[in-house]
Symmetry: C2
Subunit: 236 residues, 2 copies
């Protein structure tokens, strides 16, 4: 909880008092242990989640080894908000990547709130648009940019969400997220470590030179940040 007495999720914080009252009775704080599954593609949703901290990885892909991360989201976002407003069937898998907590809301309560309040609905829609922008940029980045820049981007996003420079991550999971072989990650990570930008060992990656990491990354990160900032500032 924060000074406002609300859970520390950016979207909950932005809500009008009246809108927050709509949700409040239905908010349940839950633990997100690593690898907790929040939603599964093509399966009916039961809850919508407002993460407080940690990070959730949104992925698609039919089979193991053929999956790819669409976006990494956290306290600046909602899990499954768009699908909840649409037909309640999740488009993608959502899995806790870094542990944390979240406020869960039953999907019916979420839909009721969205039906009752145009302002709340607008916020969810703008959020969904921001998420779309994220996916779009990932599309461009994955298609056109080399693994090194993409890895830098990814780490920066993880840092943004967790505010921690040390992240519990294996090269293997990194490779899965980015849709490349562990091989490639190993090579690039080694290079970044040699340059003094990151340090890692046995499932812990630490950012040691944030500026250099930003220089290594492509401008996809900042493009996404700009969209997010614009869309989630309440209109006048």
């Amino acid at each position: 909880m924060t000074a406002s007495g609300r859970p520390p999720n950016q979207l909950l914080q932005m809500l009008d008092a009246a809108d927050f009252e709509l949700l409040l009775p239905h908010l349940v704080t839950i633990e997100l242990a690593r690898a907790t599954v929040l939603s599964e593609a093509d399966v009916a949703l039961r809850h919508v989640y407002f993460p407080h901290d940690g990070a959730v990885s949104i992925t698609v892909g039919p089979s193991e080894g053929q999956t790819i991360e669409v976006a990494m989201i956290g306290r600046d976002s909602i899990v499954a908000g768009g699908a909840a407003l649409a037909d309640g069937i999740a488009l993608s898998d959502a899995v806790a990547l870094f542990p944390g907590t979240a406020s869960a809301v039953e999907i019916s309560a979420f839909r009721n709130a969205a039906a009752a309040s145009a302002r709340f609905r607008g916020l969810v829609i703008r959020h969904e648009q921001a998420l779309f922008a994220r996916a779009q940029q990932s599309l461009l980045c994955n298609t056109l940019h080399p693994v090194e820049a993409r890895l830098a981007c990814w780490l920066l996003r993880a840092y943004d969400l967790s505010n921690k420079k040390a992240l519990p991550l294996t090269q293997d999971t990194l490779a899965q997220m980015m849709g490349v072989r562990r091989n490639a990650v190993s090579l690039v990570a080694h290079e970044l470590q040699r340059a003094g930008i990151i340090r890692y060992s046995r499932g812990q990656i630490e950012i040691t030179d944030l500026c250099a990491l930003e220089a290594t990354s492509c401008d996809c990160c900042s493009a996404v940040r700009a969209h997010h900032a614009r869309l989630l500032r309440l209109p006048p």
Copy 2:
């Protein structure tokens, strides 16, 4: 116009009579010449479009040569519907790829209709979700699948939208859409032609063996189709 007396856009056709009345006074049929720009990233929208035929390519990318197609849409979709419901700033460029016509609506009228009718709003949101699914699948496809399969997918989609087996397309534009070099397209196209699956010459590509083309493509196409069908069937 069709038997229903409505423009031949799938979404307009699906509308409740009352909802259609909301839009009808504001619908203006326009020509979409090839390369007509319908929206531009980061620029305020003026209209929302319901394509009747032809196809519109949604692309992102900061600079020339660094752009990539997010989705190709047509009569089964809306151009800029999501952005209109959000903050009215387009996320991406939208350009007419194949000529055709569309119904244009001023953004304010579109928003008013969405505010007035929960059913219309729901349809737009579900559509936007379908578009998101499309983008997601492109992300996966571009990251993991070889150019040959992607090209096949792309042609199938173009065929779906235009119902024509002959498409006015240069290898150059194909390469731009797919985010690869013309070189790669030339190679693959040559191969497909040799196999009797397509035929082409000077900016005209013709599908000669649809089944073989489907066999060449990855299952991304069908995955997207499934999502689209599910989301755009009116809920009970």
